[in-house]
Symmetry: C2
Subunit: 413 residues, 2 copies
Amino acid sequence: MKLSTRRIPIVVPGYRFAGVRCGLKESGKRDVAVIASDVPATAAAAFTTNRVKAAPVRVGIEHAAAGRLQAIVVNSGNANAYTGPRGLKLAREMCAIVGRELKIDPQQVLPSSTGRIAVQLPLARIRRGVRDACRTISRDGFHDALDAIMTTDAFPKFAVEPLVIDGCDVTVAGMAKGAGMIAPQMVVAPSGKLERHATLLAYILTDAAASPATLKRVLNVAMTQSFNTIVVDGDTSTNDTVVLLANGVAGNSKLTPRSADFAAFCAAVCRVMTALSRLVVKDGEGATKLIDIHVRGARNVADAERVADTIARSPLCKAAFYGGDPYAGRLVCAIGYSGARFAPERLDIYLEDLAIVKRGVEVVGRAERRAGKIMERDEITLTVDLHAGRAVAHRVCSDLTVDYVRFNSDYRT
Amino acid sequence: MKLSTRRIPIVVPGYRFAGVRCGLKESGKRDVAVIASDVPATAAAAFTTNRVKAAPVRVGIEHAAAGRLQAIVVNSGNANAYTGPRGLKLAREMCAIVGRELKIDPQQVLPSSTGRIAVQLPLARIRRGVRDACRTISRDGFHDALDAIMTTDAFPKFAVEPLVIDGCDVTVAGMAKGAGMIAPQMVVAPSGKLERHATLLAYILTDAAASPATLKRVLNVAMTQSFNTIVVDGDTSTNDTVVLLANGVAGNSKLTPRSADFAAFCAAVCRVMTALSRLVVKDGEGATKLIDIHVRGARNVADAERVADTIARSPLCKAAFYGGDPYAGRLVCAIGYSGARFAPERLDIYLEDLAIVKRGVEVVGRAERRAGKIMERDEITLTVDLHAGRAVAHRVCSDLTVDYVRFNSDYRT
């Protein structure tokens, strides 16, 4: 989908941003970003569960472990993944340069990279890029930084939510990149439970004050409702990273799960991350449609997720969405091989509010014509009711298109 | 791939075949097949594990349970899947018509259907078609029957192996159909262990004499080496069925696992099924390449299969095969998220005999140019060595192409 996301000026109190060019991208576009807080911020982060973790992910896990970060340094055009000890050394050096230039603890800098896997970064360029970024950092550099983290993205992804906590004005703002290699499998570091997430980099920044444990809880909830629901192609990247920073300059008394405003803060972070995650699906490589898949009536959550994931990953279902064909057969087949337990003769499937399968029987005739109309929309809600219990799940996926294949067979992403 | 499989005349002693038209296909091509043995045959069969089992699969499981079958009746153009009690009744009626026309026990007739899901078969047409097939059945109708079981197949798939058992001439011949909805998950009925298989119908016929337990063992081995290794798109059908019949008219003393010729018989069945399974991948919807994925050095077989399956299903890897891009990054990424345990720095990957990743480092330069040449071939062998143990796995997949998506978004298969 071609979306023109209107750029609005975004300022997050206490944060500065930069995005510069150092020649990592053939296009000559911005490729190094730095985001820095004026003071050390409370931090929570989530990383890919891919066994091949990119060098910056390995360093990021270390640096985020203490729950305090002051800066993020990102390069695009090269993933610094599968680059051995040399890549690891360079990821640490990127943090060291930021530390030296901005006079902060390099252990409180989190590195990220995105782009081609298994290629060494050109040393001189990346060093110059990181230094230049630090020297041009400014309050209004949000969009420069966002430009610099993009790779195959067709449009920039950002979201912002204002709220009042404890009588203080607070901003929650986020930026994300990601379009392909999207099949979230992330864990909130250092020891959190498995979360699903996208081949994306996402940085959520707020000037609220919150404890590390609070931020971690918020990130877990927000990922479950946002990035944990999305699938573009089903490939889980080596570099997925989501960071939530809270620098406290808003002046509220430190948020904890018992604070009166905890729920409001959590909801604002969820809204920002949900907005970003849907933009990633809309910008899915070659995507023409976004499909919300709601499963209900499952025996348990695992079964509900099996059904939703199977549809979200089925090449045949995704190609049918692309073609706009409201053919229930492929959906029924995918639900059938998902591994979930249900009685086929009790299954209901809805496109928006229209039943296309009712008690196990496909509804044809007038319904099919209306279903065809619904399938032409660029956002479609599909609801599957298994009538086997009370558990639910939600996934958001894109369609599988000719352009997805063309793009990924032509171009090394 | 466009293959012109030269049709050779195939006769299997003691079997007759028919393929007729009854108007189930818009193209007007043959759509009903009957295969019948002159005498009741020993039988083993494997069926889809999809929870939504087509009506003929449900009837087939019942009829194959006793290990004796005399005929197979197939229609194409309609899967008779997700068609409720009416579909089930019709599947039984197809068997009854064959029983009446050919004077055999309807419980010894196995029905199969393939085509669109969730549409009722037109009663009058299918009744007439089955009757006509029975009345035109002949010794040399093999290719007519094969034509009648095809749907989106671009070419007919058959294989034949002669062998001598116990001094008697024996024939093993097989026919198969299948191009899309291919991601095998089958179980050998009635109680066998899980086998992987394809959205295909395959019928393997021999005039050898063998006990039901022997046939079941042979089918299990052969599926592990053939259909259990293939993936086209990753969607597991509602209708997958493989049947192995042995009518004993060759006159050999009944084969058991202790027979001198057991291994030779088993090998012949494996060769026929392997040949058929590779033809299914070559005819994969839109496919331009067949990739043999060999994984070795895994901690255990489950890990080896995880790695092979993940590559065989990865949209990004499959699109790279289509594009002919010998880019190791996507392979490394897929191996990384497969769930298998291994040390990334010990990984080797080969294209044919050419190392593209050696001890965790991508080999570039001259190797990349030769790799590019290899990627232009229409059959490619990829070997992954995890160096984590001794277990191995083998999968055979097709590439993901623009034509796959175009075909499956244009056409209801």
